[in-house]
């Protein structure tokens, strides 16, 4: 599977819409995703006394995909991840992971999964290298293999210079990276990442997103929870929205956006030849559209149905107008989330912790 490039593109259009270029790159990630479910959750419930934190959720994660699990604080994200990884026992329901019973055979399942919690939880007293070697030994890896793997990961995560430093001396970003390295030391089939970029600097977050994509490109299925909606949009193949312990929607990022899109819009960046009369000419030529002149060198065309670019390109060419760029504008995942859940984005982005057990 080729390395998807969208992860490296950190600059986005100012209005937050996803451009054609970006979407095309994102589609590249879908290579390697199979239709085989590697995680299947059926009617999963978790009660704490009278409070039902997870209310009969069902979903599946396909082998090879990055599955995003999004929701506000207290929605049940961490409780779900804890049940999937064996840190919490479901009150009811079924979990199948890689064909194994995720409740009865959890210890067998734990051999196949890697877990990166929302807080770095390695040993402060030990150095980076020893932490990795220790984590590898928990999975029964032999000495030579675990030492080799620890060295490889330190290099891959650009921590080779810090391998001998105690974990407590690491920066937040370095701690996060080493915690991810510890989560994949045994080369798990599935990696659970709980809020991997929360509370770290931009550059480290960027590196972590790149590492996540690289891991996925090598075939690791990733189950990701995040409250950064742009991150989910950028990284995930499919997304499940959870609120108040219930799954609101599970779908691919594209399908979610298409569903939320009321009308199709294309924005043309033009170099010369545009003027007030251009809008009128366009309306005369194409009756089914609406036209909005955004600036002297930008015009936005909207229609209820899919917009074919070629007729417009020909029209501009005939008018002697040079088109620099054509962008299909789509709603952001943020807009989709608000539409589906009715929850304000600010609530999703609130400082997390309230919902954690």
């Amino acid at each position: 599977m080729g390395e998807p490039k969208c992860v490296y593109q950190e600059s986005r259009p100012k209005d937050g819409k996803c451009s054609t270029k970006l979407i095309k790159r994102c589609q590249g990630r879908e290579k390697g995703v199979t239709n085989l479910p590697i995680i299947e959750v059926k009617d999963l419930r978790k009660k704490f006394g009278d409070f039902e934190a997870v209310r009969g959720i069902s979903f599946s994660v396909k082998k090879g995909e990055i599955f995003g699990f999004l929701g506000p604080n207290g929605a049940g994200k961490t409780t779900t991840i804890n049940m999937l990884t064996g840190l919490a026992l479901p009150t009811a329901g079924e979990i199948i992971i890689a064909g194994q019973d995720g409740i009865k055979d959890i210890k067998r399942v734990q051999q196949l999964i890697g877990i990166v919690p929302d807080e770095s939880n390695l040993y402060d007293e030990m150095n980076g290298y020893d932490n990795l070697v220790f984590c590898a030994s928990l999975y029964g890896m032999k000495k030579a293999r675990r030492e080799k793997r620890a060295r490889e990961l330190l290099k891959q995560f650009a921590l080779d210079d810090a391998g001998n430093k105690p974990f407590k001396a690491y920066s937040k970003g370095m701690k996060r990276k080493l915690t991810i390295a510890a989560g994949i030391i045994h080369e798990p089939e599935i990696l659970f990442l709980d809020e991997p970029t929360t509370g770290i600097d931009v550059e480290s977050a960027r590196q972590i997103r790149r590492l996540i994509t690289e891991l996925n490109a090598k075939g690791t299925t990733i189950f990701l929870t995040t409250h950064y909606i742009e991150e989910a949009e950028r990284l995930c193949h499919r997304i499940g929205f959870i609120t108040s312990g219930e799954i609101v929607k599970v779908s691919s990022v594209r399908a979610l956006m298409n569903e939320a899109q009321q009308e199709k819009t294309v924005e043309f960046a033009i170099e010369r030849g545009g003027g007030p009369e251009l809008g009128t000419a366009l309306l005369q030529q194409f009756s089914h559209i609406t036209v909005k002149q955004m600036s002297p060198d930008s015009i936005r065309i909207s229609a209820a149905e899919e917009i074919q670019l070629m007729p417009f390109m020909r029209f501009f060419d005939e008018c002697g107008i040079v088109v620099r760029e054509a962008k299909i504008l789509r709603p952001s995942l943020e807009e989709v989330f608000v539409k589906l859940t009715g929850i304000e984005i600010s609530k999703l982005k609130e400082e997390k912790g309230g919902g954690k057990k």
Binding site: L87, A88, N121, Y123, D124, E125, S137, L138, Y139
Partner: protein
């Protein structure tokens, strides 16, 4: 093999991170020596050091193991590194045995420091060393599992310290170490027989001086029972509270 490696790694990590640190080593040495000297110096009569040895050994083990285990597990739980162990593919029983073995070994070493000190003062011939080791081991296992029980019951490190003393100090005064049990007020005597240390001290007395007054078999069974019971309750509590 696979879980054996994990067991050994956890034990090695705990020994290196907690038990073999200079402050703990010095505590492990100074504490039993202080106990020994305190008994020798405070006594108004010529002290039969050999008589004191079982009690000092038992206390050294009790304090060494309960302090270390209760604190280290609470600390790891607080820093969430304990979660990493719970999420590893090793059974909970094996994991907890790995976590407690370090404390048991620490307790064993603690117990024999007073023996080393005393060996310079008195003749230790006639001691049943096999039974002494068995006794010390059983006290260490029981005390460690008591520490585990305490660790599972609290959230904070300071709570672990306080809760440990809640068990330890009554044990010191009621186990027959300072005051023979039959000299205690009648209503308190049953409490003495509820304490594992009573049986541990008596077992060591029997092994070192042949002066124990409880049946040897009874002491062994009670200590074994306490060990199994405390371990089972602790593991059950971990399942209930930490794998919620």
């Amino acid at each position: 093999m696979r879980t054996g490696l994990a067991f050994w790694s956890i034990l090695k990590k705990d020994m290196r991170n907690y038990y073999l640190k200079p402050p703990n080593i010095s505590w492990g040495i100074i504490f039993p020596i202080s106990w020994s000297l305190m008994f020798i110096m405070r006594s108004a009569t010529p002290v039969d050091v050999r008589e004191l040895l079982p009690g000092v050994m038992a206390l050294s083990v009790l304090f060494g193991t309960t302090s270390m285990l209760a604190v280290t597990i609470t600390f790891e739980r607080k820093s969430r590194s304990f979660e990493r162990l719970l999420l590893a593919p090793i059974s909970l029983n094996r994991l907890m045995l790995a976590k407690t073995t370090g404390a048991i070994l620490f307790g064993l070493v603690n117990a024999f420091i007073p023996v080393l000190v005393v060996s310079f003062l008195v003749d230790l011939s006639g001691v049943n060393w096999v039974l002494t080791v068995v006794g010390v081991l059983l006290i260490a296992v029981t005390s460690t599992f008591l520490g585990l029980f305490i660790a599972v019951s609290v959230r904070e490190v300071f709570e672990a310290q306080t809760f440990s003393n809640f068990f330890r100090f009554p044990m010191i005064f009621l186990c027959g170490l300072f005051i023979p049990i039959d000299h205690l007020p009648f209503f308190m005597q049953p409490f003495s027989y509820l304490l594992p240390l009573t049986y541990g001290v008596d077992l060591l007395r029997f092994a070192i001086n042949k002066t124990g007054y409880l049946r040897l078999g009874l002491s062994l069974i009670v200590l074994l029972g306490y060990s199994i019971g405390l371990f089972t309750i602790s593991v059950h509590n971990i399942r209930k509270k930490w794998i919620y």
